[in-house]
């Protein structure tokens, strides 16, 4: 009696991990090469940027918001930072001065990203505009600013700048290492700091959070600064990996993949519930679908149908789980 109860609980708490395992088993049955080390590295490298953005997005969703401008702000950060590191011998470079030191440019780019996020975070926190609308607006603005800054892709970037995006340490891609670092950072912020606790409280009941002495506005600014910071990390990885930053296409519609990963990972859109490990699982599920179904030569449209079903299914499951508790 006691045992069956535990098993049910285990299954309901870890249902998305079971979905992931099932997907992996199915795909690898039809295509044994799927599980090869090379393919796993390809898969992770491909999902790293979206994953990092999802680690930012989950904070927004957990505080009952959303950030639709991560893709666009990534494009802006990528374009601006790439223009600072174009090789000196490249005739068509955007700026007249030579490549600046990469570590400096990267730090500045991350700061720039965080500032963009803090700006629209402040807009949301102090004017109380719904985050959906506010970030829809900033998405258009950021994308347009990137295109105004340069009307063509910024390419021929210095190798030092590209190291994070395409470099390797002992054969292991840096992009995956950055992904792991961002995972750890997100988990630390969420569970080990006041900021993380405040995000949960605001998402769970913002009025109660205010009465408990939490500075709700400042926390919201922090949430969007973190989300845009994650986008900036993604921007540097994208530009480094591709070797160029395209103002029109870099990060295009990445925000939706980030929302999808966070949602599949059990982040509640009614606020107050999220787990970094869950979001990781969400990213991996999307990765297995993207990579695995391509390997199986499944039609692109079918792949999207599977994605759609999993997104909807995961929310239905979560809602039923939470409803049962009431």
């Amino acid at each position: 009696m006691q045992k069956t109860f535990d098993r049910k609980k285990f299954i309901s708490q870890n249902s998305i991990w079971l979905v992931l395992i099932a997907l992996i088993v199915i795909v690898s049955l039809f295509q044994p090469k799927f599980l090869s080390v090379t393919n796993m590295i390809t898969l992770l490298s491909g999902e790293a940027v979206r994953g990092i953005m999802a680690f930012g997005m989950m904070f927004c969703i957990c505080s009952r918001g959303i950030d639709l401008s991560v893709g666009a702000s990534a494009a802006l950060v990528a374009a601006v930072s790439a223009s600072l590191v174009q090789n000196a011998d490249y005739a068509n470079r955007l700026l007249s001065f030579g490549p600046l030191p990469a570590p400096l440019v990267i730090l500045a780019a991350l700061l720039f990203g965080a500032l963009i996020g803090a700006a629209y975070g402040a807009l949301i926190a102090y004017t109380k505009i719904p985050p959906f609308i506010a970030t829809l607006g900033t998405q258009l603005i950021c994308r347009a600013c990137a295109k105004l800054y340069t009307d063509r892709p910024v390419s021929k970037l210095s190798e030092a700048y590209r190291f994070l995006g395409k470099g390797k340490i002992g054969g292991f891609p840096m992009i995956i290492i950055v992904f792991i670092i961002m995972y750890a950072l997100a988990a630390f912020l969420l569970t080990q700091t006041r900021f993380g606790k405040n995000v949960f409280a605001i998402g769970g009941n913002d009025q109660a959070a205010r009465v408990a002495g939490i500075n709700v506005e400042r926390t919201i600014v922090g949430v969007y600064a973190w989300s845009a910071f994650c986008a900036a990390v993604g921007a540097i990885l994208l530009a480094g990996r591709a070797g160029s930053a395209d103002p029109a296409n870099t990060g295009l519609s990445y925000e939706l993949d980030a929302v999808a990963a966070a949602t599949i990972g059990g982040t509640s859109h009614t606020g107050g519930i999220c787990r970094v490990s869950g979001v990781l699982c969400g990213i991996l599920i999307l990765g297995v679908i993207n990579n695995g179904l391509v390997m199986l030569k499944v039609d692109d449209n079918m792949t999207n149908i599977v994605k759609g079903i999993i997104i909807i299914g995961s929310v239905v499951l979560d809602m039923r789980k939470n409803a049962r508790k009431k």
């Binding site: 009941n205 009465v211 002495g213 939490i214 508790k325």
Partner: protein, 507 residues
């Protein structure tokens, strides 16, 4: 068998995953009588009613209604069979008209078109028959909470039910409306309708009940005619032990002034309120709904914008602009709106306890210390919970309140403002919270206690501030306390001068 009872529920068992909420209880209701259900929070009163009207069908048991055995699967079936319920929590559609709210789910139609004319006329007729002064065309959201509750009551009555269930219907009503409700109940009785009444307010219960059934911890205790019972007897039955003292006021020395409020104003809600609070003092705040007491507390706590006046603590003027500032300055608030502004339901007891003091736990947060402090307060306040990792929404109201008290105390305040500290809390927990408030005053803290329960505010306070529509109308000393006097001031329009001893406003 017999038509003596309109409703007979026997051996009702209700199990939720992991909990046995009802352990084979019974309830027998006669038509044309007011049958009150009593018991502490979590005793199973509301659950039993939810079993009856099909929100949570019972796990086992027998329900005989109007001579036949029934088991309603949803509220719709119950309504059609003639059982309507006024819920404790309102669920209005604030953007639509009163009439639309009233006929929600059964809008009169002509063909496929909504018959707006009939809807309005029926609403007028209904309100007139109940003597209610509400305009059916008004937007629901524009009504006061009390008026909304009256509309809800009208709605339940309009089904022409044989049984009307009222779950704490008076919690947001003013005195006049309570009287009105009682007249409606009398009318229902004349029409041979049975009323099942759930309330914690003893005076109400003894005024209107014919029969009383007591539950304790999901078990049936007894049923008796109200005239055979007394308050003390009832409390003993509910708690299962004798609660010796309801208001354990401990006389303790009153120290120097800790908080001074001068001409405090907040828009139209609070107008020129001035008073002093001393160490070791419990300052009561009495008044009717809308008197501005909660608003005064919220202004002091920085939750509401101050539009005038000054606040001093220990002689130093404070500039409080947010709850954060207030907590930093040693002021804590226990809110009246426990669900809305108090608990974060999804989070654990630990998180809810430590949320206001996170800065004391360092970087990264010291989770061991957080858990230790929480365990400490759970033990000190005698909070009943399976574990400190339990989500607070799974606790009963009284235990949630204890967690919130723990949260306030953890910020180590010198001044504690408690707003309706025992609203909706069962008798046992109530006495514990009263004892705790007295103890804190004894430790030299200054306490402001807002309460709408006359015996509570009179039993606990050293002095009482009386307010009416944002204006302070009196400060009374303990020797002058009487419910008549307080009520008189609570309806008086004359502001009091804090330097002049109060005079009787009637003369």
């Amino acid at each position: 068998m017999s038509q003596e009872y309109i409703l007979e529920m026997t051996d009702i068992v209700k199990e939720f995953p992991g909990v046995r909420a009802l352990k084979g209880v019974q309830l027998k209701v006669r038509p044309g009588r007011v049958h009150t259900l009593m018991g502490e929070n979590g005793a199973g009163k509301s659950t039993l009613m939810k079993c009856l009207i099909g929100i949570h069908p019972p796990t086992s048991g027998r329900i005989v209604y109007d001579g036949r055995e029934v088991c309603f699967k949803n509220t719709h079936e119950a309504l059609n069979a003639g059982i309507s319920m006024i819920h404790q929590e309102l669920s209005p559609v604030p953007e639509r008209s009163v009439a639309e709210n009233l006929w929600l789910g059964r809008v009169p139609v002509k063909g496929i078109r909504v018959d707006h004319k009939k809807m309005r006329e029926d609403s007028f007729k209904l309100f007139k028959s109940l003597g209610l002064d509400v305009n059916p065309d008004e937007k629901m959201g524009n009504l006061t909470v009390a008026k909304m509750q009256m509309v809800e009551i009208a709605k339940a009555v309009s089904y022409d039910s044989k049984i009307v269930i009222m779950d704490e219907p008076t919690s947001s009503l003013t005195e006049t409306e309570v009287e009105h409700l009682f007249r409606i109940i009398e009318d229902l009785k004349k029409k041979n309708v049975a009323v099942i009444y759930i309330s914690h307010k003893m005076d109400e219960i003894f005024r209107i009940s014919d029969d009383i059934t007591v539950f304790r911890d999901g078990e049936y205790v007894c049923t008796d005619a109200a005239k055979n019972l007394t308050v003390d007897k009832l409390i003993t039955l509910m708690v299962g032990r004798e609660v010796t003292e309801m208001f354990p006021k401990v006389e303790c020395p009153i120290g120097e002034t800790i908080l001074k409020v001068e001409n405090l104003s907040a828009g139209r809600a609070v107008k020129n309120v001035s008073f002093e609070l001393h160490r070791g003092e419990i300052l009561g705040m009495a008044g009717l709904v809308g008197a501005g007491r909660t608003e005064t507390a919220e202004t002091i706590f920085g939750l509401r914008t101050k539009t005038g006046g000054k606040i001093y603590k220990d002689g130093v003027e404070l500039n409080i602009r947010s709850p954060e500032d207030a907590i930093k300055n040693g002021i804590a608030l226990l809110t009246e709106d426990r669900r809305g502004k108090g608990i974060v339901g999804l989070l654990s007891i630990t998180d809810n306890t430590t949320i206001a003091s996170l800065k004391d736990y360092g970087f990264p947060l010291n989770h061991n210390k957080m858990r230790a402090d929480t365990e400490d307060y759970v033990a000190k306040l005698n909070t009943k919970t399976p574990s400190i990792a339990t989500q607070i929404q799974n606790l009963s109201g009284g235990n949630q309140q204890k967690v919130l008290v723990g949260r306030s105390l953890l910020t180590n305040p010198d001044i504690l403002i408690v707003d309706e500290p025992t609203r909706g809390i069962d008798v046992g927990a109530k006495a514990e919270i009263h004892a705790l408030i007295s103890k804190l005053a004894g430790e030299g803290k200054g306490i402001i206690m807002i309460s709408s329960e006359m015996p509570e505010v009179m039993g606990m306070s050293d002095r009482i501030v009386v307010m009416h529509e944002g204006v302070m109308t009196a400060i009374l000393d303990r020797k002058d306390f009487s419910s008549e006097l307080i009520l008189e001031y609570a309806t008086s329009d004359i502001p009091c001068d804090p330097d002049v001893p109060p005079t009787d406003p009637g003369r």
